[in-house]
Subunit: 501 residues, 2 copies
């Protein structure tokens, strides 16, 4: 028997899955770790916590499955991205890793806006200049910890650290490289221009491995710490979103999926290189493919806020969401005529406005709670359509629209969403997320399938197809326009509100 | 002993108060009646219901007080306004009365907009062309019931009908005349130009009596029906708002009062004639005085909506408002940074936008219900300030600000309001409303005071003065500007929303 392991290092947990043949899940394990928030807008994690979580999880699945470690042929690792972790030549972290949600490098952002300009950065990297990326965070280290950075041999991404712990090789995979905002996506190399701008050197970057390239074998030390065999090889791995996209069939032109939980991300697959100023660029697992994605901060988050602030909250004994769905189905059977802007924590794609805030408009004396709840579902669906509009501008033909994640459990929400986007929505039977995509990569590596995409195609099963409600489509078209106009109208008031206090 | 009676014919009830010397309340009685809504936007009442309510109420206070009817020296009547009640020469109603909330005359409004123009109507009457007034409603009768109108001898206002039933004299008091939108306020006469425009004749209007002019004595028939003495005289009376203004001390320059319940009205007293396009014009009880007023549709109404839609509603066992006040005082101690537009049923003054709707903006993941409740109080206070701004444009010096009505029971609301307007707010001990003002008129008529204003001055007692919170004032100044801008920004989206469906 041949087995493989997929490990995803998320923002809050490590998730580790042991796959058998046919990408069957044999065993699973996970561990949580902490995000340290030493100051407002700072967010960092201790890389030892990741490794501890990984080692324990691997031990756990080995114990549970009772398989022989040497039967595990391959491991691949995905992670939250991007991050910055400065390492010594000896493989010791010099500092906690700054993770994607860290916002300390605003000063560096300003300097770069001045020095190179947002337009140029977008042209080189395919992404908007933002503290989200490695670029400004690495610059923060260089400006604020110059002595420490003299000892820095390489900077790693999150999976890069785990790969190092497993193989003792410094690496970065191609999808993570695409998200550093230090990579020249047109010339396929680190950008000398950007490194010069931040006062750094491209030598600080590890070698780039493609997602399915072999980095090395599990080291003796790692084998001891995890129970793995030194015969097992480790692949380059991927950004969690790239792996998750593969899992739900987003690769190549016209494949679209929304993963909708507290926040939502909608991903568009393209052949070749495509960039779009309103969406984020990420390389697909397959070489020469693109994933554009739009991240919406508070999709499910908006409903969660409503639940907690205005619906009496939630206890383990009291699952509010099924009741919310019923209340809408009984009391708000049709489009509400309310507009909800779901910008409860500012918004990323496509408006990129940290000052935007949640807004209900159109309330009247007969407006019910059920209608407001429905308006939340409508508003988040409009936000999705707003991202679809951006993707359509690039000329993408919309083929399949797949929806997964916690919010895809609500039938009424899906019906509203299908009617807003004017297209059927497919719900997959299984949704393993990033580890599932890693499983496909591993299966292709082991020769079970020709490519990871073939594995995805073979495995993806659609549980349910939700159709739009014909009568709602034209109404939502009109309401969507008002939704767009309302944000544009209120934009400067949001900015003014942000100035107060 | 000398007694008098004040009778107010409101929109839903007649309220009848027997006053003794010193404007002391001796007995009270009231009766409800129905508003008939035969079609959407139609609103009419049967004048016999008013009279029945008045006659029963008078009998009730006579029985209760056991005073001799001939000791009642004078009666005055105030009413909801304006209305249109076509009468035969013999004193029979030809139709139900169209009351102020009737909106059937929209076609007539369009014709007049075309024919004379809104500007001209404002110049003649001091009020914006609106279906609220007698003008378009009388035109509706003339256009839609031409045969019936041939039999029409006079049209009456609501108190005019009661005065007729009491004295058999057709009359209209000067304050009601000022609110017909048929009266030329600059030349003090019915406007020939407007009557010509609607195809009517000024002869249809009854003689104008000033508020304290004697119309006549109680007729024999009326005495039989009510138990009153034929020795009692009946005065001209007033619009309920004019009488209510007098009661809370609004007469002459700089006196301001807000009566805040489900809807709010803020009234500004002026010497002489003053008009303002954003506020409504009404003559004061005293000759050659003005009351400008701004009516806000849903002040308390907004909080009531929140209570019913999002706060679990209200039962007799469950008085929500004290709990709401406590929740705000505990959980939203400071300005919220939210903006609430309190336009839950469109808005009258000062924006005059039937399409405007309730809006919460600035919501974030930490926004609590307490903050949203406070935002409702803040938003309605901003709406008040918006009306104050209009009055200030006329050059009025703001002297006293008095607040009465149901919403003045909330201390936190008053504190917010005082901080928004940047001025202390006085709460009167007693608030009888319009009948109180009638009591002052009666007392002056009987010689107890030189003028009704003297009576008001002598009687008005301030129970409580609420001071602004110094730290809140500058924050509310900034938020108020955003409030104003938000409505201006959303205006066209409100119009677009109104077009849907």
């Amino acid at each position: 028997m041949k087995y493989s392991i997929g490990i995803d290092i998320g923002t809050t947990t490590v998730k580790c899955i042991l796959f058998g043949e046919g990408v069957q899940v044999v065993a699973e394990a996970g561990r949580e770790y902490k995000t340290l928030l030493p100051k407002a807008s700072w967010a960092q994690q201790n890389p030892e916590d990741w490794w501890k979580g990984v080692a324990e999880s691997i031990r756990s699945i080995l114990t549970e499955s009772r398989i022989a470690p040497e039967d595990i042929k391959v491991i691949s690792v995905s992670s939250q991205a991007p991050a910055v972790l400065p390492m010594t030549k000896e493989g010791e972290p010099l500092h906690d890793a700054l993770i994607w949600m860290d916002r300390r490098s605003t000063k560096e952002l300003e300097i770069l806006e001045e020095k190179i300009g947002t337009k140029k950065v977008y042209e080189i990297t395919g992404n908007r200049l933002d503290t989200y990326f490695t670029l400004t965070e690495l610059m923060w280290f260089l400006r604020n910890h110059p002595d420490m950075m003299k000892k820095c041999h390489k900077i790693l991404q999150v999976n890069g650290y785990i790969n190092y712990k497993l193989t003792e090789v410094f690496s970065i995979d191609a999808t993570h490289a695409s998200l550093t905002q230090l990579y020249d996506v047109h010339n396929n190399c680190w950008s000398e221009e950007l490194f010069e701008a931040i006062g750094g050197d491209t030598k600080i970057m590890p070698d780039i491995y493609d997602c399915m390239d072999v980095i090395g074998h599990v080291s003796k030390k790692a084998a001891e710490e995890t129970g793995l065999s030194t015969k097992t090889v480790v692949l380059g791995g991927a950004v969690d979103a790239s792996a998750a996209a593969l899992e739900v069939g987003v690769y190549g032109d016209g494949s679209i999926a929304e993963m909708t939980g507290t926040s939502s991300v909608v991903m568009f697959g393209f052949d070749g290189l495509v960039t779009c100023n309103e969406l984020s660029y990420l390389r697909g697992v397959k070489e020469n493919t693109t994933i554009l994605f739009g991240a919406m901060n508070t999709a499910g988050g908006s409903l969660k806020w409503f639940r907690d602030a205005l619906y009496g909250g939630e206890t383990p004994q009291n699952d509010a969401y099924p009741r919310i769905n019923k209340e809408i189905e009984a009391g708000a059977k049709n489009p509400t005529g309310l507009i909800f802007l779901p910008y409860m924590a500012g918004e990323r794609a496509p408006i990129w406005d940290p000052n935007a805030r949640g807004t209900f408009m159109g309330l009247n004396m007969n407006t019910t709670r059920a209608e407001m709840l429905r308006a939340v579902m409508e508003g988040t669906s409009f936000a999705l359509q707003d991202n679809l509009d951006q993707a359509v501008k690039t000329g993408i033909p919309i083929r399949d629209f797949i929806c997964c994640g916690g919010c895809s459990k609500s039938d009424i929400w899906l019906k509203i969403k299908a009617s807003v986007i004017g297209q059927e929505i497919k719900i997959p039977s299984v949704n393993l997320g990033a580890p599932g995509g890693l499983g496909y990569m591993n299966a292709a590596f082991m020769g079970e399938y020709k490519t990871p995409e073939d594995a995805s195609r073979a495995a993806l099963q659609i549980k349910k197809i939700v159709e739009p409600v014909e009568e709602w489509i034209p109404i939502y078209k009109e309401l969507y326009q008002i939704y767009l106009d309302s944000y544009q109208s209120l934009k400067s008031q949001f900015a003014a509100l942000a100035q107060i206090k």
